[in-house]
């Protein structure tokens, strides 16, 4: 047998790994095995592997492939490190020796940072966005350049503030790396000084702007002011462009800080800062025309997609330098928003934050729930939703002020101030937690929200049963002795137990309606969805009506005992109106169920059964979570089948349901005259009823018509659209 030839060049002694830090073990050396591996490879058959017993091909598929740009975050691109990039002049300070170019470049950096920040908000990593800027990564480099230095410090402080609020809210499950900083530098003390520095810079530029506008005689007095750049004709425009960007940055950080103040104390001031931000963003947009004036446009699309107002690429940005800080996800290249889209994002964010600031912080659960639902209609992004959640739930209380026992009792016109022991009751503590979870879930994004609402239904249901048993037991014991000390704790618990079912049905309704938002229902499933909505709405309206009766009863008794007691008629009217609103929706849901069932039974509409699933299977898939929570308590599918199998178009109640809905909608419009959003929704319900009455009339006359369903008047209640075949 011939021995393997020694290749001296590959001997382990001459070609040991160059890096002395990579030492072999004690009394061991690094032996070159390349020839051995080559020889073994030659001898392997195609597809044959050399591997141990624990090798798993499936697990091996998850291995990171080195030198694949999508998987290898350590791949060297331009520079080995940030230090090397800086040494090679990648992020020069000042940005340019020419002061005009320096100002232009600084403006480009500011615009690009705005874009990066917006892109980060929308779900990308800090390392690949804001911290792809060397000036932000190493602010100490720019300490001689007050403008750039202070701007970068304030950006870092803003990022820190946003990371803080989103981390505290913990609603970012779906946004992956949003809050992950992976060791990126956030120096709280140094960054906090950024605002002071930025204020000073703003003052200097303001004086410079005044100097530009001054007459020639006054100009002589201000000659000691150093201009930003060399061209006097452009000085005023550059000053304005810088000022609006600086002011936006400043007011944005102030707004975020004000909104974090406990118990909503900073909301009024935050509103002012938000208004300034919106105004400054208008100025930022206006500055684009000037900044673009000397740039040759290579087609409109390039400018539109640009990340700066001028259309130029900014200096000092390289997302690949921070690739390793994006770990553990693969360093896939991300697409930054365009500058225009970033501005649009901030305008929307600011309007959403303003909506939160305008909320009157009523200690009324119905008002809170209605506000959150309305807020979510505009599809606010994560930052706004996190702020709302932290406003609503602080220290386990609503707005950090009232316990949820107080809030729930208030919803029933009950006073719990004298019943301090109730706050530590185990059921009240559990209820507290359920309410906190519910509010947090309602502030999440729609898909996550729906999933979690479905899951908590069972928690609420189980709690309801347990509390029911316990309260019933306590009430049995209580009847055996007379309660003369006026302790109404048990009565309060009993009322809260009764109120629970209303809340469970409210959650179930929200779960069903979000299915429309997420397009989870196909046309063939509308019948069963509306049937379920009808069942839940009916129960919810019944429980809400019962609550009104309790409140009226309680208030009347209080008024009888104390002549000076003033009833809260506003609350009574609001809940009564709410009951009517629910009844209107109940009629609509019922009408739609019967109409769609009739169309299905007469062959004019898709059947629920398809080639893959039976109708029963589809029913279970959609409503399993509701059924697990005993909503309803009887066999839902059987009830659904029985109630819809005989529906016919000439069945009179079809018209009655829509007529009833129309009538109720007309009546309650007056009640919502001061609530434009609710009024618009009621008008939508009215139109749904009217159009469906017309549609049913047409179907009865001509069975050959084609029918489709659209959501033109209301997002959850369909309108039948009729066409000739």
């Amino acid at each position: 047998m011939q021995p393997l030839k020694l290749d001296e060049e590959s001997s382990s002694i001459q070609h040991k790994p160059q890096n002395c830090a990579i030492s072999s073990g004690d009394n061991s050396v690094w032996a070159d095995v390349s020839p051995l591996l080559s020889a073994a490879c030659t001898d392997l058959h195609e597809g044959e592997l050399i591997n141990g017993d624990n090798f798993n091909l499936f697990a091996a598929m998850s291995a990171l492939e080195i030198m694949d740009p999508k998987m290898d975050s350590g791949m060297v691109s331009t520079f080995y490190s940030i230090d090397e990039a800086v040494e090679n002049g990648f992020a020069p300070v000042p940005v340019s020796a020419d002061s005009t170019v320096d100002v232009q470049s600084t403006l480009d950096i500011m615009d690009h940072l705005l874009v990066c920040e917006a892109t980060w908000h929308m779900g990308h990593s800090l390392a690949q966005t804001v911290f792809s800027c060397i000036y932000v990564l190493r602010p100490e480099m720019t300490s001689s350049q007050a403008l750039l230095h202070s701007y970068c410090r304030v950006i870092r402080a803003t990022c820190r503030a946003v990371v803080s609020v989103v981390s505290d809210a913990r609603t970012n499950e779906e946004e992956d790396l949003f809050t992950m900083t992976y060791g990126l530098p956030f120096n709280e003390d140094e960054d906090a000084k950024g605002l002071l520095l930025l204020n000073a810079v703003e003052e200097t530029i303001c004086r410079q702007l005044r100097a530009c506008k001054a007459t020639s005689s006054k100009k002589r007095l201000m000659e000691d002011l150093e201009p930003l750049q060399t061209n006097p004709q452009l000085e005023e425009s550059f000053c304005k462009a810088l000022l609006c960007r600086i002011r936006f940055r400043k007011h944005f950080l102030h707004a975020l800080n004000c909104m974090r103040r406990p118990q909503g104390r900073g909301l009024e001031l935050a509103r002012k800062h938000i208004a300034y931000c919106i105004s400054e963003l208008d100025s930022v947009l206006e500055s684009a025309e000037f900044l673009r004036s000397d740039v040759v446009e290579n087609g409109n699309t390039e400018i539109e997609e640009s990340t700066t107002a001028s259309g130029r690429s900014p200096i000092g940005f390289d997302p690949t330098l921070n690739k390793r800080l994006s770990a553990p996800t693969p360093p896939r290249a991300i697409k930054l928003l365009s500058w225009k889209k970033a501005i649009d994002y901030y305008v929307k964010l600011l309007h959403n934050l303003d909506q939160i600031c305008v909320f009157p912080l009523e200690p009324d659960l119905d008002a809170v729930l209605q506000f959150v639902i309305r807020f979510q209609k505009s599809r606010p992004d994560l930052v706004a939703r996190a702020h709302l959640q932290l406003l609503l739930v602080q220290d386990g209380k609503l707005y950090g002020c009232d316990t949820f026992l107080t809030i729930c009792a208030r919803a029933l016109a009950l006073d719990v101030t004298k019943h301090h022991g109730l706050h530590n009751n185990e059921y009240i503590l559990q209820l507290n937690q359920l309410m906190i979870n519910l509010l947090k879930i309602l502030c999440a994004n729609t898909p996550w929200q729906r999933r979690k609402l479905g899951k908590i239904l069972n928690d609420w249901s189980v709690f309801n049963v347990q509390m029911g048993i316990s309260v019933a037991h306590m009430m049995q014991q209580d009847t055996s002795r007379t309660s003369k000390n006026g302790d109404k704790s048990l009565l309060i618990l009993n009322h809260i137990y009764g109120w629970l079912e209303e809340q469970i049905n409210w959650v179930a309704l929200r779960f069903l309606m979000l299915g429309f938002d997420l397009d989870l229902y196909s046309l063939s499933e509308y019948c069963m969805v509306y049937w379920y909505m009808y069942i839940i709405l009916w129960k919810l309206a019944e429980k809400a009506r019962f609550r009104v009766l309790i409140i009226v009863n309680t208030e009347e008794r209080k008024a009888k005992r104390n002549k000076e007691y003033s009833r809260d008629m506003v609350r009574e009217d609001r809940i009564s109106l709410w009951v009517l609103f629910l009844q209107c929706q109940t009629c609509l849901a019922q009408g739609l169920t019967v109409m769609i069932a009739a169309l299905r039974n007469e062959g004019m509409c898709l059947k629920s059964e398809g080639p893959f699933n039976t109708e029963n299977e589809k029913f279970v898939q959609h409503f399993e979570l509701l059924q697990k929570a005993s909503l309803p308590e009887y066999d839902a599918y059987e009830s659904f089948s029985e109630s819809t199998s005989h529906a016919r178009l000439d069945y009179l109640p079809v018209y009655e349901y829509f007529h009833d809905a129309q009538k109720i909608a007309k009546d309650i419009k007056v009640g919502y005259a001061n609530d434009p959003d609710k009024l618009a929704e009621v008008r939508g319900l009215e139109q749904v009823a009217e159009r469906n009455i017309v549609a049913v009339n047409l179907f009865c006359q001509d069975r050959s018509l084609k029918v489709s369903f659209e959501f033109t008047h209301h997002p959850y209640f369909a309108t039948a659209v009729v066409r000739r075949s």
Binding site: L36, L37, N51, G52, V76, E84
Partner: protein, 106 residues
């Protein structure tokens, strides 16, 4: 005149050598392996798998990279877990072993 080994014997000897190489490489499984690649990085991990193309899978891998293009320069390390190193980018491959064992590997 030197007689050539008969073809059957030659094939037998060759297959024994083949088995020997493959067996030797099998003995390296789970050992610490240091692989250098074209861009100057080194990967230190447990040898997990080798295929016919010469691609290597390492487990519990540490990546060593310079922070400057020029050498010598400080290095930084990063844990990567399981990695696959294509043979096309490999420049060196070493295994941690005793001095005595080193001879048997070459």
């Amino acid at each position: 005149m030197q007689r050539e080994a008969p073809p059957l014997l030659h094939r037998l000897l060759k297959s024994q050598i083949q088995i020997l190489y493959i067996a030797r490489v099998r003995k390296l499984l789970f050992r610490q392996m240091l692989v250098g690649i074209k861009d100057g990085r080194f990967f230190l991990g447990n040898f997990h798998c080798l295929d016919k193309q010469g691609n290597i899978i390492l487990q519990d891998t540490l990546e060593y990279r310079s922070i400057r293009r020029s050498s010598p320069s400080p290095t930084e390390q990063c844990y990567l877990g399981m990695i696959l190193i294509p043979s096309s980018c490999m420049t060196s491959c070493h295994v941690d072993c005793s001095i005595e064992e080193q001879l048997s590997l070459i």
